[in-house]
Symmetry: C2
Subunit: 446 residues, 2 copies
């Protein structure tokens, strides 16, 4: 591989420092790749794949490495193909309201680039200051705004990708509608870099909403909060976010970095956006529904007080390590009305055998991040809790992953959700794209 | 086949009347199937597929037969598997805002069933009083409301389907978000009944908007109307529909059934929906933008005057046969800002060699229905115009089908839009689901 790359002029390294730094991702699983390659464009990606395919060397594509389930963990001795230097925003078409980017563009940078043109790209994973659009597409990333605005899949119009043998393909179209052949675009989205390497992405964008308001609502029980969520939505109000924090989440944040959040059984951050008049009208209605459901409400109209609330929300993940050196993080989803049942289950298992469970997340769309915290010696108990949780979620007609994907850490559960025949079809699709099995091998499938 | 079905207790017929009636769909291509089978549930579908697979007999699934490109045209001597008797609305979950239906449920019936609960299923193909939800999923149907609300794909949460060898599979989940394995759900949507037979569909629904207003705007040129469309969207107003009719479309409607529509170069029907206050505010802003773009505006606030306008729009298709006994209908899509260029092209080719071209459709999302009308002796000229049109659409970064699919009539063009490698992958997917090639054979692929 090294020799072939030398003649290609493509940037690469096999220094121990680089092999170490690219040896893990946010899943904290560690391996040592054989070489790291930095592609500068689609031709580089195609060349690398041609060489790797010829030599039968495994290749793991990588954006910023923020994947939490090991989707970008390298194969021992294999190639890490970094796309972080493909970071051009190629075209912003204001009339057509679409944007063409390379996969290494950071989500937050794109957001700010669009903001000055009064345009808006909604998907906002918590890691938006680091994660790349290519990674967002590979994992079909979501974020708080998913409730109103959907996930990455809902914004991808068109993809350019390189197949494992090095052919450039196109999937989707620049248009908003299309029914021509099978939907290869949606097949690539969420495929965790196992089918093809995405090299260009055209995204649909929206006009920036005129106004945003954040409300903090608190309740003395999760079940009241659950009623409130359903009542707001049933009233025809669609907030851009409804972020739930349980008592454990608020307590740990306040210990970590006091933000003045009131400690309640259930706290729900609500963001409303839209035209000036609509937002104010909706905020009044939300406050009214909140009081009727027995909750308390606090409004943050200006940017600073809004930021204070969101800062608390974003501090949960780092704060969690106070509760245990180890963490299992499941981003399960349940049908909205099952949220109280899920939390009831969590309340029962939390604290058993010194394993703590803290839950927060996108309650509006039923996507809850459940964190099982423990000290190393309790690994077995923690794993047992995690398994019971997955079974409960499936019993509630939920799914094991809303936005993090399967990667390596959830392979053991996928068979609980997907039948053998469905898995056969998926394996067949994998073989179709990648007959030699060199692209991100070992991921997704058990 | 007949003998095996006899013992199964499944309803079937091979009477000449039934074979005639099920021998064609809205594409008007005619064949004579060998047998028509009416499934009553997923077990019937699985049994039929097991028998057909064993005997190697081709099966064409069929909803209401409203497909315009021949996706449900039977195979000569093969089985027509009608799903029209699987028409139960199984469950409406008001809290979770989803609905579970069988594939034979008529779109319009579902809409009305939801309306009484103040719920709303947006996709509204023009044939909504006849077409089935199963067919809508198979073709990824759109409709005027696609601009604001997207297409069928955007509402399907979960599918149950029967593979060609008779296994029941599930794709998607009841939840709003999911990244677990490859996206089989989106692969089945729009696959025109060539991969599996859809037997249950869970759809996401929305709260019914509080208010609707329809505006008719008219312009003395398509290019002014194009500017207007872009200006409205850029102003952050997202109408539920923006339906464009060119002069030819309005003239033919007025000759067919006078509705009092003013004859202008470009007429654009706009529907706004949302909360009471927002709709009125938006209507005022749209009217202002319209006048600034040199257009005239007329508002229909009450139900009756709204219906009059929409009646005109829906009369275009039947009225068209006044212009020629034969029709080629292309539902192309171009990026929004290319609409004026597309119409400029149409103006040039229309009238050449007695072939008339009338265009109307969903201008907001760039999806234009282009009708090439001719008398039988001019078939060659008409086909030449159709071919030039497809080439122009692809030159403008458009797509050959927005919502009708490829079926039989567009197979000749698919190779212009999709590369060989992409087609190979699609053919591989077809083989994976249907190794014997018995399910709706001959469709989509050239």
């Amino acid at each position: 591989m090294r020799e072939a790359l030398k003649f290609s002029g493509i940037e690469f390294s096999d220094s121990p420092e680089d092999l170490f730094c690219y040896g893990f991702d946010a899943s904290r699983l560690k391996t040592t790749p054989g070489i790291v390659v930095w592609a500068k464009g689609v031709e580089d990606v195609a060349s690398v794949m041609k060489i790797a395919s010829e030599k039968g060397v495994p290749v793991v594509p990588r954006g910023a490495g923020t994947a939490t389930t090991g989707a970008s963990t390298p194969v021992e001795g294999g190639v890490v193909l970094s796309l972080e230097k493909m970071q051009r925003i190629i075209e912003i078409d204001e009339e057509n309201m679409d944007v063409l980017v390379e996969p290494g563009v950071i989500n937050g940078r794109l957001q700010r680039g669009l903001e000055v043109l009064d345009l808006f790209y909604p998907p906002d994973p918590a890691s938006l200051e680091f994660c790349t659009i290519g990674g967002n597409v590979a994992l079909n990333a979501g974020g708080p705004r998913g409730l109103k605005y959907g996930v990455t899949r809902d914004y991808v119009l068109e993809l350019e990708a390189v197949t494992p043998e090095g052919t450039v393909i196109r999937a989707g179209a620049r248009t908003l509608k299309r029914t021509v052949g099978y939907d290869l675009k949606d097949l690539l989205i969420g495929s965790e870099g196992t089918l093809a390497i995405i090299t260009k992405i055209r995204l649909r964008v929206l006009p920036m909403p005129e106004r945003r308001i954040t409300l903090l609502t608190t309740f003395d029980s999760i079940s009241r909060c659950g009623d409130f969520i359903l009542s707001v939505l049933k009233a025809g109000i669609l907030p851009s976010c409804m972020e739930l924090m349980d008592r454990g989440a608020v307590e740990v944040v306040e210990e970590y970095r006091a933000t003045g959040l009131p400690v309640a059984e259930a706290s729900l951050l609500i963001e409303l956006d839209g035209s000036n008049r609509t937002v104010i009208q909706d905020a009044e209605r939300v406050a009214e529904v909140c009081r009727r459901c027995g909750g308390e409400v606090q409004v943050a109209e200006d940017h600073l007080s809004q930021e204070a609330l969101w800062k608390a929300r974003r501090s949960i993940a780092p704060a969690l390590y106070r509760l245990g050196s180890e963490k299992i993080n499941h981003d399960v989803v349940v049908p909205r009305r099952q949220i109280p049942t899920l939390f009831e289950f969590l309340r029962k298992v939390s604290g058993q055998q010194d394993v703590k469970v803290v839950a927060f997340g996108h309650a509006g769309d039923g996507n809850i991040h459940i964190n099982i915290l423990y000290h190393r010696e309790l690994e077995q108990s923690a794993r047992a809790v995690a398994k019971r949780l997955i079974e409960e979620v499936l019993r509630l007609e939920g799914t094991i992953s809303g936005e993090h994907g399967v990667g390596l850490t959830k392979r053991q559960y996928i068979g609980l959700e997907i039948s053998n025949r469905e898995m056969d079809i998926m394996r067949g699709i994998k073989r179709l794209f990648d007959p030699k099995g060199i692209l991100n091998p070992g991921k997704v499938f058990p």
